[in-house]
């Protein structure tokens, strides 16, 4: 143990000096504003205390609640698509990459991560252009594959836009689950695999019975990261569909709703109190998700870890 940690007792100023800058910036710019935002959710626009009235308005007011429930529903669907598409593809790619005899591993790893480093603005516009019927890149490609009938202006149709956008987001972030699962696969001790092989468990059944259960904790982490990211998403929708999250609010997420409510959009004036209320609801949703993960999922998964 460190000398001076126990015996002599002068005030150890250096500990404070080391901690102070980080604690100061973090508290002043993150924790205090977060608390202040939550606090404002209980006040009206004119700063009188209104208790839970803002929440009541958000949940029941005919105009606002329609947008809120719509955004929440969309956000949930956005998350479901992520979980259904991103985890299986991530696991598949990671499993293929984790084979130590595979050539070009480094190349594939690098390439699969490229979309993740691009900004939302780039990703949003790139896909908007590619899916645009005006340009016709995707249409042309589908046609040449004999699938021309499949083409739809996906981002422009209410019934497809949200799913298309979710898939774009999956395309962008697939690198993260892939890498985390890949790392987990590499950390499985060789002895475990060898023992399985001695018992005649190879190939796919080895993957299902041995490797997959062992990487469940990594999948759990990916899921909670995805959850937090999804319920806080804003940029992609804003870049691809604008603040109005068109067509007809079909891609509206809680993040875009928060932006429009807080800052106002077109004829609608910005509303600080309602903005804080939406932020508070998002906070509760994210907190619930994280707690479920920490207290229910992670504690159960731990017994698989080495």
């Amino acid at each position: 143990m460190a000398i001076g940690a126990t015996d002599r007792k002068p005030v150890r100023w250096h500990i404070g000096v080391f901690l102070l800058p980080a604690a100061l910036v973090y508290s002043a710019i993150m924790i205090i504003p977060l608390a202040a935002t939550l606090y404002q959710a209980f006040f009206s626009k004119s700063w009188s205390f209104v208790g839970l009235q803002n929440f009541e308005t958000l949940f029941t007011d005919p105009r606002l609640s329609a947008s809120f429930w719509n955004a929440l529903r969309n956000n949930t669907w956005f998350f479901i698509i992520h979980m259904l598409v991103q985890n299986p593809i991530g696991i598949l790619l990671a499993a293929l990459l984790s084979n130590p005899r595979l050539r070009l591993r480094g190349f594939y790893r690098t390439v699969f991560f490229v979309p993740t480093i691009l900004s939302f603005v780039i990703v949003g516009f790139v896909w908007k252009l590619i899916l645009s019927p005006t340009w016709g890149v995707s249409q042309g490609m589908l046609k040449s594959a004999g699938l021309g009938w499949l083409f739809q202006p996906w981002l422009g149709k209410e019934e497809y836009a949200l799913t298309a956008l979710s898939l774009i987001s999956v395309w962008q972030f697939i690198g993260i689950p892939m890498m985390l699962i890949y790392a987990a696969l590499l950390s499985i001790p060789d002895e475990v695999i060898e023992a399985a092989e001695c018992d005649g468990i190879t190939g796919w059944s080895q993957f299902w019975k041995i490797q997959l259960p062992l990487v469940l904790p990594a999948i759990g982490i990916c899921s909670v990261l995805t959850f937090v990211g999804n319920f806080n998403a804003f940029d992609l929708v804003y870049a691809a569909q604008g603040a109005a999250a068109g067509p007809n609010y079909s891609t509206d997420l809680l993040g875009t709703l928060l932006y429009r409510t807080f800052f106002g959009y077109q004829l609608q004036l910005g509303d600080r109190a309602m903005g804080s209320t939406i932020a508070a609801v998002m906070f509760l949703i994210i907190l619930t998700g994280v707690c479920i993960y920490l207290f229910l999922v992670q504690t159960r998964l731990r017994r698989y870890q080495f």
Binding site: F18, V25, I29
Partner: protein, 279 residues
Amino acid sequence: MSKATHSPARSIAAHAVLLTYTLIALFPVFVIVINSFKSRKAIFSSPLGLPGPETFSLIGYETVMKRGDFPLYFQNSLIVTVVSLFFVLLFGAMAAFALSEYRFKGNTLMGLYLALGIMIPIRLGTVAILQIMVASGLVNTLTALILVYTAQALPLSIFILSEFMRTVSDDLKNAGRIDGLSEYKIFFTLVLPLVRPAMATVAVFTMIPIWNDLWFPLIIAPSEATKTVTLGAQMFIGQFQTDWNGVLSALALAIVPVLVLYLIFSRQLIRGITSGAVK
């Protein structure tokens, strides 16, 4: 590995899947970059063709240079990213050192307090952050962005760095103490150089979200003089929606610097994510 896992058929199948995904991952970037070098007519007549002598054109880039102040946006992004990174690394390493090196009252509590921000996004405090920035006159300054990004990145970097600092040998630090080095000297001259690889990892992790962020530039620094590349590109594209050459060139210009940086640092980044596994 068993014989079963490296039969040729298996490996061909694996490469087929991986190559397919390579195409999916790179295709959009490829399409944008090649088309940014083509004339308007060629963009529409053969969107997938490479720019040839007849179709080559730099008109898009000319529009971007004339209409958007991209050098300035680029400079803003660079300042914000580099300065935030500096503070995140310095403050983060200092706090991580305090938490991992000393035993004091409230150590665990402090660690938990600082870790809160890993899971709770800073965006949810936007309403009050804007109020603070307005009250302190920092709206539309790069300082505001730097402060926000420093706060945003500190929790994760403290977490990662303190994990690494636990691995620095106690003997080394105690030898320094016996030689009469102050705690500050021990930190700056003994410990920091040893955790340089971890610092690089944290730097890459921190850099990407800062460079790519749209929310905070849009809300606390949207003025012409403080626009970042991400916001500048967003505004430019929104304004020139129908100028396909301009839009494609702006996108290509936004992609290239990040791509180059990534290719330089990708090893670091991937090693960072997979560290703990690949020892």
